[in-house]
Point group: C2
Amino acid sequence: LIKKPLLQELLRIVGPENVLSTPEAMAYASKDMATSVLPKMPALVLLVHTREELIRATKACLEHGQALVVRGAGTGKSGGATPDADCVVIDISKLNRIIAIHKAGLLAELEPGVILSDFQRAVDQEGLFYPPDPASVAMCTIGGNVAENAGGPSTFKYGSTREYLLGGQAILGTGEVVDFGKRCMKGVAGYDLASLLCGSEGTLAVFCSFIVRLLPKPKDRALALFLFAKDEDALDATQAVFAGGFRPRSMEYIDSTCLEALLALGFKAIGEEACSALMIECDASVIGAAVLELKSIAHLMEQWPKSRAILAEGAARDEIFTMRKSLSEACSKYLGHKLSEDIAVPLSAIAEFGRWFKAQEQKGLKCGLFGHAGDGNLHVQIMFKSAAHQSAAEALRHQVLLQVLKKQGTLSAEHGIGLQKKDYLALEQSKALIELQKRIKSAFDPHGLLNPGKIFAS
Amino acid sequence: LIKKPLLQELLRIVGPENVLSTPEAMAYASKDMATSVLPKMPALVLLVHTREELIRATKACLEHGQALVVRGAGTGKSGGATPDADCVVIDISKLNRIIAIHKAGLLAELEPGVILSDFQRAVDQEGLFYPPDPASVAMCTIGGNVAENAGGPSTFKYGSTREYLLGGQAILGTGEVVDFGKRCMKGVAGYDLASLLCGSEGTLAVFCSFIVRLLPKPKDRALALFLFAKDEDALDATQAVFAGGFRPRSMEYIDSTCLEALLALGFKAIGEEACSALMIECDASVIGAAVLELKSIAHLMEQWPKSRAILAEGAARDEIFTMRKSLSEACSKYLGHKLSEDIAVPLSAIAEFGRWFKAQEQKGLKCGLFGHAGDGNLHVQIMFKSAAHQSAAEALRHQVLLQVLKKQGTLSAEHGIGLQKKDYLALEQSKALIELQKRIKSAFDPHGLLNPGKIFAS
């Protein structure tokens, strides 16, 4: 429970209407979208509206030795926003100003609570482009994107959030407010703290604002859905695209089970036959070049005689994008329950991993795979009808993580370790490496008050 | 001077023929290619031939409290390889095996002493592509590239070394040998140590090996040299390329003074008229798309009525590339002496900075600018005829750095801080930020034995 002098100070800083402890507010702040993390009640929820309030409230907590978690939209999938200890949750969703878009400088400054799709829209109106595009784009905040180094389909060509974070302002665990990074496209003055902070899951600093890099908007885009007779054909086809020397904007895999789940949710674009799909989008900075690349890829796909291509334009295009973004939901609804995992394997191991996973189907458990095949990043879906299968599903989830490590893969490609996988980290990384990271954590946060309990097992 | 028990151990580890203290070896190891750093003699030079030797020799030094600097080819430009304290220099240039190129996995494993152009050639033979391309490509080592986060012309489209470093093996200042990073294209398990280590200038760890990401090789490339009537026109033209939505592979600026220096060195490709140039290369994964983009850019350039374009093919193409790589040398030879700086400014400030710098020309000092205009990264050249102008040149160099910071630029875009600019770091970054970085340094190297004296002022 929170100390009285701190509570009084917080009431003064943000006003009583923004210090929340109603059951609804506490329940909302107790969890994110992780499927294997139990909710935990915070000590209190604070709603901040300005950077000054954020800085003052954070400093007050730190001075009183009060642990805290910063929360954006709560769309994270590893429990990163779940208040593990007796934490104050600072909700930054109202700290959502786009401070400036500098068109000639190809950069923008913005606050952490900006919703990604709002930002993308504003940037697009300037003829510019901000590539990161997680499926939660319409809800998630830039702050959460930076905390988790969010990716998405276009990461394949354009990289994750880290490639776009130039710098910003942050509060360290010491209470110091620092400007980090740069306003230039390149820079090697000192250590790359922007890259280190990106993906640090709220454990190193509290973000006040960001400077992000923008790109000129590609003038040409072309999308196709390639349908295959077997799951394996689609996975093999990803290798052919690499070998063919292509660099599409995205290359998304949807296996037969996930396609069934989409059909069940009412998406008809792909027709009734259950088969696997690759959704490939090309883009280019000159008109005509994207279609040129996509047609070359389509030509390549003809080596799978039973494959067929749907070149998607207009409404069909929109439906396919909506379909892709609905995959996680479709798998949740398909049998009523699911566990999901976010893993990556080396590119050469994708097909093999896919085969292994599908062979794990058992009574009551459906195994589905979708994700960013171009990056070897698969979102593993374990679906089941009733709570009776929960423990079997958990056991399979455990096996999936072990199998990924066996294939020299990684526990998390883009969702973070958070609470969900911290007990596994020691299976991927050595003790010396984890101890090093804890010393880095101490360099930023000597008293361990920023998002305690995450990433590293206690 | 080195302690006797340590010396004996080192003799045992690498053999007497690889423990060097001849005047030639000591002089070679006393400096790199920085123009404003005085040479300093090392305590001793060790030549290692295997990773095991590197690990044993490094551990022996650390156990005896002996400071050390790792040296690749010594092509750095900030004094990073200069042994500041009484250091042992470990020369890793013979640790130069390409361990494996995994074609299907789009990655390679290699030792730090591999020469960049050797690696590029091997990768190219597999139909793959490793983008970083500093001008020193034919001499520099991958180890040095990682230590400084080397860039080059293609950074504009493809990013610097950091974007390709997936992981590797390193020795911490504690003597622990750790595997860091991943073999996957994406991964967020724990902090991004690969990004942090990249560009850390040898101050955080000693590298034993790297895992780097490769790309499919672009099938199409097209190069043009655009000549302009005035320096400013070329700089304004870079803005037009951004605004036009193009993303060429590289966009290199050469001002009138640097073109004169090239002419003086015997390059005739550009003709006798002194004017400024943009060298723009486009590439694409389908045949025809690169020329398409380059032609669209050429069309854009017609708004500068006195500009002309040389579409470079065959031998002309090779000469232009050689010319670009010879710029630093040409500026050194032009008047016999030079100081150079590597800075970046925000893209919107390039033309303004260029104007300011050219206005600083004074009796005895010629001001030249070339570099990666697409990234706002300019290599500032201060050329002079005799040592009598050295102090005026140093004074101008000082003014350049102050002007860069005034324009919200950075002290170093790709060459590092090293010894050359450590006294300036506090002008770019706050005390709190620098202290944080020193704590990070301690997390890796608690006794301060790895490349001491670099980056941070004492």
